[in-house]
Amino acid sequence: MVDFLFYLFALITTLGAGAVVLSRNPVNAAMLLIVSFMGTASLFVMLGAYFLAAVQVAVYAGAVIVLFLFIIMLLNVDVAERSRPSYVTLAAGLIAGILMILGTLELFERGENFTLITLQELDSIGASTQSFGVELFTTYMLPFQMAGILLLIAMLGVIFISKRGKEAGKKGP
């Protein structure tokens, strides 16, 4: 049962991601991205990281996708892409992708010592919200505060960029 669920979630995640790459319409791509993110959240649940799964759904599938959809509909760009990628780019991407997939598949050949534990016998390390808070406020205090400063700077930067654009538009013809 666990195996079946894992393969189902992995299929949903990868197929959703592939559909994002191949879809011509940006709105469709954003919607398919939600599917991929939900699949990732399910994988987190399978691993026992419930808090991260909740954060994944709330932040990624919620906030980030809404932001994407806002911008797509605000800009109102043409529905489809006009030009196709050049054959050189396509070939380079395919070769790079095949090499990376082969590299990961090599794990099955070389990585036998990783398979000592299976998912079923994985004992919970207690990745609960409480242990998250304890870790955040003890070991990871400095990165936590830096993340706060980073968010503040990002907010200021976004305000600055959007204001600058407006002023430049006014000054121009």
Binding site: E81, L119, I161
Partner: protein, 101 residues
């Protein structure tokens, strides 16, 4: 066959590869950003799997910070795309060639 760490790492590598491929072949900057998110997601899957199979919380915390940084990055990136669209009236990378020549 039972599910171990390897299967999660393969899913992670597949996600990263798909995002990378999309980053190379797509022309729309908004979709390029989505591909970046897919790549970050692949890394997140690997980190959570390592963390849980290793029995430590560190990977989980790192994914937490990655999600924070990714949210900030998307906000700034989309603001830049909007500012660029105001000036150049396009979101396609092949038309954003001011620095050419």
């Amino acid at each position: 066959m039972t599910i171990g760490l390897n299967e999660f790492l393969v899913v992670s590598g597949l996600l990263f590869t798909i995002g990378f491929f999309g980053l190379l072949i797509r022309r729309n900057t908004l979709v390029l950003f989505m591909c970046l998110e897919i790549m970050l997601n692949g890394v997140n899957v690997a980190l959570v799997a390592f963390s849980q199979f290793n029995g430590t919380m560190d990977g989980n915390l790192m994914v937490f910070f990655i999600i924070t940084v990714a949210a900030a990055e998307v906000a700034v990136g989309l603001a830049i795309i909007v500012a660029l669209f105001r000036k150049r009236k396009t979101v396609y990378v092949q038309e954003l060639n001011v620095l050419k020549n």
